[in-house]
Symmetry: C2
Subunit: 431 residues, 2 copies
């Protein structure tokens, strides 16, 4: 049996998963890869930290150079996260012709292009399946299995924390705050949950998936982002009344060569496969012009699922015969030039919840203003009075451009009879 030495940068949650899998599935990995894998070094910040699992302390080092300078280490697995110093470390490793596996979404989303080029120049492999949707092989799916297709659209539930919160709100009627608290207690949400609940995490991941699916360089600023903090229980109830549920969707569509990319709460029909993705599960639905609808569903986070993607990436490198010079080229990222569509040009149906003072003619004035902006309404629900003579209006529009909605809402907001525009949620019916 051939032997290979590898190193880990980082031993947090994902690092622990990788370590566990390398040990528990040793036989599988040997037979599948043809190599006996030895972890020679693991870079950590503190060698004496209590880690809650067995590990030989001699493997740990706080000195990156011990890994860099050891030419017997052929593969470096980066699971430390963040950009600094991860990027610098990986560039240096690539320059020493070490092959790379990383689980770092922020790094790939913002610096991927430069790293891919560097790896291509040096003829090393660079794998990053774990950077999006944990254990789900979505990157391999796009890079290897859908290559015969023009991807037309992609819809993802790619943040487990927000999906867990929305599930609790939908199925158990919790408020956002209570659901968030429960997610934090369960370890699904961080103490500072901003990156998840405001959609930043999904924005990074959508940027990576879009750049692969459309073979183009994506700047994170081109991805519209809106979090779930404004979703109320009442919106969940209205959604149910309309036969829909609310999910934080990451959406990319190719509209005649113009990409629109957006992360926002979305109402989708209850019968759609994505509507039945619950708890912290992730799923990505791709529409290809040959394959049609294709969905991947699984665990988007966690030490073992993410570790599964990392170790599989390592095996892919080993199966490509790391000793050879002729390795698979890194997938090129800049195959096409795409333009981007501004959010104002996006077309959607909309759910709009407004509170108004119950005065004669107020509904008429509002619907007139929608009409003047070219927004056609599909249904209007007026609920009985709350205190102080306030009533809730819920409106569903037909397909309309976002700029028309903005125009109408600006006008409606000026009406004296309008107390508050409570929420605007885009509706996706996948047609």
């Amino acid at each position: 049996m051939k032997k290979v030495k590898i190193a880990l940068l980082g031993l947090g949650n994902v690092g622990r998963g990788v370590w566990k899998i390398l040990n528990s599935n040793r036989d599988e990995i040997m037979k599948r890869s043809g190599y006996e894998v030895e972890v020679s070094k693991i870079l950590v910040r503190n060698k004496n930290k209590e880690r809650g699992f067995e590990i030989d302390k001699d493997l740990l080092t706080i000195d990156f150079n011990e890994i860099l300078e050891d030419s017997s280490i052929k593969i470096v697995i980066e699971v430390m996260g963040g950009i600094d110093p991860a990027k610098e470390y990986l560039v240096k490793c690539i320059e020493r012709k070490k092959h790379i596996v990383t689980a770092n979404k922020m790094l790939i989303a913002t610096q991927g292009d430069e790293l891919f080029k560097k790896a291509d120049e040096m003829g090393t492999m660079f794998q990053y399946e774990a950077s999006v949707a944990g254990g789900i092989p979505i990157i391999q799916g796009i890079n290897e299995s859908l290559t015969a297709n023009k991807v037309e659209e992609m819809y993802g539930i790619i943040n487990g924390t927000t999906n867990y919160i929305l599930t609790k709100m939908e199925l158990e009627g919790l408020d956002f705050d209570d659901a968030l608290k429960e997610a934090q207690e369960m370890g699904y949400a961080e103490v500072d949950p901003t990156s998840d609940i405001e959609g930043y995490d999904a924005q990074y991941k959508l940027s990576i998936l879009s750049s692969l699916a459309f073979g183009t360089k994506i700047d994170i600023e081109n991805v519209y982002r809106e979090g779930i903090t404004n979703i109320k229980s009442i919106d969940m109830k209205y959604a149910r009344a309309f036969g829909m549920v609310i999910k934080l969707l990451a959406i990319v569509k190719d509209k005649n060569g113009k990409l629109e990319m957006r992360v926002h709460p979305t109402m989708i029909p209850k019968k759609h496969p994505l509507a039945n993705v619950y708890d912290s599960f992730n799923a990505v639905l791709i529409k290809g012009n040959a394959v049609g609808d294709l969905m991947f569903y699984g665990r988007g986070a966690g030490d073992l699922p993410t570790g599964s993607a990392v170790v599989s990436d390592m095996i892919t490198i080993l199966k490509n015969n790391i000793d050879l010079d002729n390795i698979n080229p890194v997938v090129k990222n800049n195959l096409w030039d795409k333009k981007f569509r501004d959010m104002r040009g996006v077309e959607s149906k909309y759910y709009i919840r407004i509170r108004v003072y119950d005065e004669p003619g107020v509904l008429g004035r509002i619907t007139t203003l929608f009409g003047e902006s070219g927004v056609s309404l599909r249904s209007v629900i007026q609920r009985g009075q709350e205190k102080d003579g306030v009533v809730t209006l819920v409106l569903i529009t037909h397909y309309t451009k976002e700029c028309q909605i903005i125009e109408a809402i600006d006008e409606i907001y000026e009406l004296i009879s309008v107390k508050k525009i409570d929420n605007i949620i885009r509706i996706e019916d996948f047609k």
Copy 2:
């Protein structure tokens, strides 16, 4: 741009899909593979057949040797189906160092081992993603993305015809015969539907998936098979009453190194992701010891979805630099020796529907016989009398061994009060 010549064996449904994709997605294929692909020859039985799409008749040939002897043809795509002469043709092509893509499930399930060995000897690539579940990249998923895992269980809806029929029965209340007729009219079922509705098609596919997931050689006889022809509307109604639906599931479980493989109608909880796979869609759920639950969902048949898998396989070969000698090795099939568990040793819950003459003590005698065989009952429903004093009993068991059910049923069948054992359906709760 580099150029490569390929040939097709067959131009039926899948062949047409491949042809269409090669033409409509020419730019994508060039950029993704790095090659301009030219179809030099297509083997057909009749050059003058009306095909309903545009194709240069000079490309067509009825002589396989024109393809075999042309050393400029580097990749052969087999979409003719069947074993004879497909196997002979592929062996000859491999011997001439041509790389192979095939969509032929029967060939892979029964002759795969020999073909893989031959390709390995000759150093050619052999791709067969399209042989199972059409456009769904399940083979790549197992061979490349789940390599870090011990696969523990796998559950598939891998026959679109039967899923279409069961969908019609479940959602529209059709009888089996009417649903089958509709499937035939829609082109989802063959004039002779035996292979689909009796589960042979799913049996082949499960055999392929199991051999890959467990790295072992599978004989088709080790896969238990039961079709859907005995499913009645009344079973659908009872399933619904229990919060379940009926699907034709292909199941493989590794029970301490013993594989149990079976294709049969199965009641599953309505809330499970597989229960919501409707119409002719396919889905495969894999449980890996690292990745947890992972599901792939998509179109399991059709010219373009299956063509998508074929063309992606071709691109995989091109990306591996077909000119090099050092190609990726063919995935080895015989990594482990596994034993197989006989169907009698399988453990499951069971739904049993019996018609009995409404006589005093009959229910007592039946439940006693179950008890004596060690079968514990979870619930019993007795429906009001039909004509001739006959009543229907529906029983749900706790987990029990199949041999105990068989023993009990044999005894119960002998009772004079029992008119007919109408149906026995296994229940899977994925626990």
